[in-house]
Symmetry: C2
């Protein structure tokens, strides 16, 4: 197993939270960020902040540290150019909310890097380093890409996610992006639409907004630039998800206007939400996958499609719950 | 001011919570319900439960108690027949989530009753009496209808809502129903649609569901019968809200597919959510409305359309925050 040395590029909410969670778990963590504000806050919280990204990457290359890119999708190309210059063969992962565009950019700009994409499903509603966020990932799903071929780095990245107290969901970049369109990007657009329809009702409507409106619009308050970047970076899969939603919502409208019923919509949604609750409950199936097997990533990919999570690593064996 | 005697018909989550909150505030509370289960739980929690609804209503008529109907919309007609028989001129309010259909049923079946409709905006996700729910309404908006003409009963109902620690939002039945379609009924249908689109993504998508999906689908878990009753009871206003949502979602889909941007959708939603947050913040304007003035309900109606809340009663004066 590689030494637990981590270099975090970008110390906003996600990068800063990983840095702190990894420090708590005993990793040696260095960081760098272009933000003076995040630099000060991270240093205050005990993160060793390098003077610039290039310096941090040179040091990571020398130490064979795992490099974690925690920058918005729109900044990935720029940062990868710096990686190509200063750490062209490093172990690399990221936390960006879409995986195919990042994988394509990595292949284009840093072909020799040992890249395994990642995406912790947590937190977009506040920006910037937060000193109290080491627990941000506790229990959250953290996708670690199984596109291959870097099996040893997969184990390193999964180990980092588990040390942050997340559960690891193995998925290909394409499968991740299709799923994320449905359970992350579409929810942001529906929240935006719901907020706008509520505001269209004027001050009385906003005064009456309670639980269902509050919850349904919460992520409409997320930073617009971050929401746009993740939605627009996943255009094709998100259009499919939008078409599914438009079809279902149009059917509800049609049934209500013509027959006065929303029975099918409400029943289907109720059963789907129950399926989601069941999916989140601890599974009763458990198995192990040998990460040294040449087919380990394929096996994890199949299990991930069935909803499996990796909950622990025991040496080279991944504990999988299904 | 009338004596604080309350008769609650229906002791499910909402009726049971009002009964307990009113008891804590010093009201004399009696209740009745057709549910043997709720009868037992309410009696256990100290509510005086009459043997049947007719008995409770006769007693309420004798005591001039305020009668609160806390039954689903689908049961309103039946219960109103019993009111017409046993307490045809009582002070009457209700907690049903749509107000025009209830007002029409009251006018049709119990024309002499002194009715002022109400709707506390809280709680649909669990059914049945709950012994720990006296705080359910704390801080919640509670619409008290200003359609008139029963100004004195308006004060009684507003007093009950305030004693349950809600804030009173004055609105006509029609204004309430139009607003509720946008901020309560549409959110339930969007949650159902989102849950279904997520489940369409298979086990991997459900495994990845995190904050935005969890919040966005929460009310899809509400009892389907209650959700159907409130949505279908507000058909016309809800079709309008659905058309607004379909138009906005279709525009997002079009812009994303053609130009690759969701800028307008995300920005509009962000500003709307900020407006909602601002609307929930304590207002800095404060005034008083004299409830003994013949134009008090008209004045409250105008203020309600501007987003005003009644936060206290001082004798015959309503404290209004805007």
């Amino acid at each position: 197993m590689s030494a637990r040395e981590l270099c975090v590029v970008g110390l906003g909410l996600i990068g800063g939270s990983v840095a702190q969670a990894a420090m708590h778990a005993g990793w040696t963590v260095r960081g760098a960020t272009a933000s003076a504000e995040d630099t000060a806050a991270a240093a205050e919280a005990g993160v060793r902040v390098e003077p610039d990204v290039a310096t941090a990457l040179r040091r990571a290359a020398a130490d064979d540290a795992l490099v974690l890119l925690a920058v918005p999708l729109t900044a990935v190309d720029d940062v990868l150019s710096t990686v190509a210059e200063h750490a062209p063969a490093c172990r690399l992962t990221d936390v960006v909310g879409v995986k195919e565009p990042v994988a394509a950019a990595v292949a284009r700009r840093v072909p020799r890097v040992r890249y395994v994409g990642g995406h912790p499903m947590a937190g977009t509603t506040r920006p910037g380093f937060a000193a109290d966020s080491a627990e941000l990932f506790t229990g959250a799903p953290w996708v670690v890409s199984v596109d291959g071929p870097h099996r040893a780095v997969w184990t390193d990245v999964a180990g980092l996610a588990l040390d942050c107290r997340a559960v690891v969901v193995p998925a290909t970049a394409a499968d991740h992006d299709a799923a994320a369109a449905r359970i992350s990007h579409l929810p942001h657009l529906l929240a935006a639409v719901l907020a706008a329809v509520g505001a269209d009702g004027g001050p009385l409507a906003l005064a009456l907004g309670a639980g269902s409106f509050t919850d349904g619009t919460r992520v409409a308050g997320a930073p617009p630039d971050l929401v746009r970047a993740m939605c627009e970076g996943n255009r094709s899969a998100l259009v499919d998800a939008l078409d599914d939603a438009l079809g279902r919502l149009g059917a509800a409208r049609g049934a209500l206007a013509s027959s006065g019923t929303v029975e099918a919509t409400v029943r289907t949604g109720y059963l789907a939400r129950r399926a989601f609750d069941a999916a989140r409950a601890p599974g009763d199936g458990s198995m192990q996958v040998d990460l040294e097997s040449p087919t380990a990533l394929e096996r994890l990919r199949e299990l991930g499609r069935l909803g499996a999570r990796v909950t622990a690593l025991h040496g080279s064996r991944a504990q999988v719950m299904l």
